[in-house]
């Protein structure tokens, strides 16, 4: 038995060590540092923080990555604040979760306290209501649990294992990704191999129109990827509907216990501020439209935001319909500059002390499209 265990351990250490060494040092040589940033998506932000202070940081899902063009936001803010240092970044990421962004911002503040002092964090609030998530929810999505790994610190691990509503396998994967590089890169290696073979054997037609989407935050811009995202969007929509309208529904009233409440406390304790922004959302994804459940969620969110003196920005006018979301989820690339401009304007107006509306202000809809002002019904 002793011999078996020793030989087994030796094999695991030698083989595992060789694979890990290849992943840690070999693969970046082969694929460049971009590979590391696929999983450790706060890494580019840390790199900036090493060089200069970050003043504005948009965090959230890949929808944030698609909607906000960080360079545009930065230049507009810089123009409005002559002589002041402005550095705006966007860390929207597909398959990320709120907990991950909390850890990402926390790690950033702890590691670069000076570069992040007074930073404004932008949080998404699609249709004027942020997603209600607590520490008892999933910390990592089952589709990509390794994204959590690089953001965890060893002190977070006990809480993750005890509190997060994740499957055992997902917890193992996220924990493994915290300690090792192999679980982070392995999937990318397989996907790259598959993509390369597919491209070689079935190249896209030369006259194929490019999909009008950004590839930030891991958004897929190939035709097959867009189709997959559409399916994923419908799945997500159904899940949300069940979560909000299903038997018993989800109690989303205690916002003080939410992760975003902790984010607010964290950022404010460091002299910064959090602002929510009404993010454009495809009509297909607007779960339940403007029904009773939506209004109750909106009331709870607004009450909490008012009590904490938090801003909810409504970038207006910004008209859109489902054609502006080629994959049902992400705003088309040709419109993100316009949206970012409206967002920057709304933010600057709020900074100058202009009062904010209590609810999404009505706006004219494009002819024949879903109307944002439906909430009046």
């Amino acid at each position: 038995m002793k011999r078996f265990i020793l030989k087994g351990l030796l094999a695991v250490v030698l083989i595992g060590g060789a694979i890990e060494a290849t992943a840690r040092w070999g693969l970046p040589l082969l694929f460049g540092s971009g590979l590391a940033e696929l999983e450790d998506y706060y890494r580019p932000v840390r790199r900036v923080a090493e060089a200069e202070p970050i003043t504005h940081l948009a965090v959230g899902s890949s929808q944030v990555a698609a909607a906000i063009e960080a360079d545009t936001l930065e230049s507009l803010l810089r123009a409005a604040k002559p002589g002041q240092h402005v550095r705006a970044l966007n860390v929207g990421k597909g398959f990320s979760q709120q907990v991950q962004h909390y850890f990402g911002v926390r790690n950033l503040i702890e590691r670069y306290p000076e570069a992040t002092r007074g930073m404004t964090v932008f949080l998404e609030a699609p249709s004027g209501v942020a997603d209600f998530r607590t520490w008892d929810d999933q910390w990592a999505l089952a589709q990509w649990p390794s994204l959590l790994g690089p953001l965890l610190t060893t002190r977070d691990l006990p809480r993750f294992w005890l509190q997060a509503d994740n499957e055992f396998g997902d917890k193992v994967r996220a924990t493994a990704a915290h300690f090792f590089y192999t679980p982070r890169y392995f999937r990318h290696l397989r996907l790259r191999m598959e993509a390369a073979v597919n491209r070689r054997l079935m190249p896209p037609p030369e006259d194929e129109e490019e999909v009008d989407l950004t590839n930030a935050g891991g958004i897929r811009t190939d035709r097959a990827g867009v189709e997959l995202t559409r399916l994923e969007a419908m799945r997500e929509r159904n899940e949300r509907w069940v979560e909000q309208h299903g038997e018993g529904g989800r109690d989303a009233s205690d916002w003080e216990a939410s992760i975003w409440a902790d984010m607010v406390r964290l950022v404010r304790s460091h002299g910064g501020e959090v602002v929510f922004f009404d993010m454009p959302q495809s009509p297909v994804m607007q779960v339940g439209g403007r029904d009773q459940v939506y209004r109750e969620r909106q009331d709870a969110f607004n009450t909490w935001a008012r009590a904490n003196d938090l801003a909810i920005l409504y970038p207006r006018p910004f008209l859109y319909d489902e054609t502006d979301f080629p994959d049902h989820l992400h705003l088309r690339k040709s419109r993100h500059d316009e949206y970012t401009t409206r967002l920057a304007e709304a933010y600057l107006r709020w900074e100058q002390g202009e009062p904010l509306p209590d609810a999404p202000p009505p706006q004219d809809a494009r002819p024949g499209t879903v109307d944002e002002s439906d909430e009046a019904q």
Partner: protein
């Protein structure tokens, strides 16, 4: 818990370590607890069914053990049969029969509708009920002493490696092993791990890799019959690879896991696709089920003996296959699948003698030809050395037998995979529409990588199966020098990690 889940990666070593760390007396209880945890992690409510089956058969076994005559034992056997088949009927077949009855009522214009119970099929119920029934019947027949140790008996019913998908073990084989003192054996443990690796290769590298092509062809949004010509044919053959590797892979993992702990489970598959007749095929495919059906269904149908008239023997064989179809799934497609296999087996048996006579005549003709030419070919005349060839006819007979058997199983398999009887016809006709073959579309849907990798792994599987016909892989690898042995292990692990499918798909047989 699935074998191909991370949970099992932690569960299994923990159980093995605890098993060998504990004294012999405590081990059955550990394995029993582990088995209930393994099963309960899927749905703890269904542990009650497992427990009910266990308690009933334990009690019935004890009661039968105290009675001498079969007549006195019979009520207890009936209790065991009633409870186990009742559970199976309620949880597996009630929906099918209620829906069929309702369709018939509708057709006859009767207003009554039988209630359809919306019950979730408990994982592995067909396996553990058959295993525990075998025990009760053997105690009734006096071939097995009633087990007095409740823990050992409960472990026999629920032993986690083979609980949810077999092999369906016999009490005479498994129970005595639980009593034996098992020490850790290095060679046996390594052999068990090797067998498990083989099972994982079959499951993850072949069965799950191939599955997306089948889903796209048969269950895609366009529905059955959307792909025709080559895609339909390829999908039909790939299904055979998936079906075999999924089930045989599971069996191998179960056998390997048990072997690591020192227990031998029976072989469940013996390269069935290399069978030269359907009779042989069913002796090599799902061996534990077929031997169960032989001992507990076919023999009783023949009055407990195999010395019956040919007609009666064939009729009971036919019935066994019809019921085996029903065992595989609660749908009429499975019943028809079993029935057609029964018909094919009967035809095969009836025509065996005339076919063998023809082949014998051909073999005689070949022998005569050899004698006339002194077994040497004319090439000798050219001054070349004599070329002795082995007799060709027996080889040809076997080759044609294998080809025909494989294709009968493959094309009857359409009933197995079809969502409904109505879809079977579309799936057959789709295979003959070569003029509109849309292979390119299928490749576009699943991606060239997925498509060609699936073909490659199936070709690899065939090569390994042919190799295994000459060498038993486990001892063969075990006897290689260590560099070669480790190169094989690493190649297998590398192939698994790079090309395996890790979607966590459930084993096909879990639904049975």
């Amino acid at each position: 818990m699935l074998f191909n889940s991370l949970d099992f990666v932690f569960f299994f070593p923990a159980v093995v370590a605890a098993f060998f760390a504990l004294p012999h007396r405590a081990r059955p209880w550990l394995l029993l607890g582990a088995s209930y945890f393994f099963y309960g992690s899927w749905d703890a409510r269904y542990l009650l069914l497992l427990a009910l089956s266990t308690v009933t058969d334990y009690g019935a076994g004890l009661a039968m053990g105290r009675r001498r005559s079969k007549r006195a034992r019979r009520p207890w056997l009936l209790l065991s049969l009633g409870v186990n088949l009742g559970l199976l009927g309620a949880f597996k077949y009630s929906g099918m029969f209620a829906e069929t009855a309702n369709a018939l009522f509708g057709w006859m214009g009767v207003g009554y509708r039988a209630p359809v119970l919306e019950l979730l099929l408990p994982v592995g119920i067909s396996f553990y009920t058959f295993q525990t029934l075998a025990y009760s019947i053997d105690v009734y027949r006096g071939r097995q002493a009633a087990e007095r140790h409740f823990g050992l008996f409960a472990l026999y019913v629920s032993f986690f490696p083979q609980l949810v998908a077999g092999p369906i073990e016999r009490s005479q084989h498994l129970l005595p092993q639980f009593r034996e003192r098992v020490g850790f054996e290095y060679g046996r443990a390594v052999s068990g791990l090797r067998v498990m690796l083989g099972g994982f290769m079959m499951k993850l590298l072949v069965a799950d890799r191939v599955a997306p092509i089948l889903f796209a062809t048969y269950y895609g949004p366009e529905g059955v019959g959307a792909f025709y010509g080559w895609p339909a044919i390829i999908a039909t053959y790939l299904f055979m690879a998936q079906f075999y590797c999924d089930f045989a892979g599971y069996s191998l993992i179960a056998i390997g896991a048990a072997r690591v702990m020192g227990y031998d489970l029976m072989q469940n598959f013996d390269r069935p696709y290399f069978s030269a007749s359907l009779n042989e095929f069913w002796r090599r495919w799902h061996i534990s089920l077929m031997t169960w059906l032989r001992d507990y269904l076919w023999l009783p149908l023949n009055g407990g003996t195999n010395r019956v008239s040919k007609e009666r023997g064939l009729l009971s064989l036919f019935l066994v296959f019809v019921l085996s179809g029903l065992w595989h799934g609660a749908a009429w497609t499975f019943v028809v699948w079993g029935t057609l296999h029964g018909v094919a087996i009967v035809i095969g048996n009836v025509t065996r003698k005339p076919r063998n006579r023809l082949w014998k005549r051909a073999a005689d003709w070949e022998r005569g030809l050899r004698i006339r030419t002194s077994g040497r070919l004319a090439v000798r005349a050219a001054g070349l050395p004599a070329l002795r060839l082995p007799p060709l006819v027996p080889k040809l007979q076997r080759f044609i037998g294998v080809l025909v058997t494989f294709h009968i199983f493959t094309y009857l398999g359409v009933f197995f995979v079809a969502p409904s009887l109505g879809d079977v016809w579309s799936m057959y006709t789709a295979q003959f529409r070569f003029d509109q073959s849309n292979l390119g579309e299928l490749i576009a849907v699943v991606g060239p990588y997925q498509f060609f990798l699936s073909i490659a792994v199936v070709v690899g599987l065939v090569a390994v199966e042919i190799f295994q016909g000459r060498h038993d892989l486990d001892p063969w690898i075990g006897s290689r020098p260590w560099p070669l042995r480790w190169a094989i292990y690493l190649a297998c692990l590398g192939a698994l990690l790079l090309f395996g499918a890790f979607g966590g798909q459930e084993f096909i047989y879990f639904q049975f």
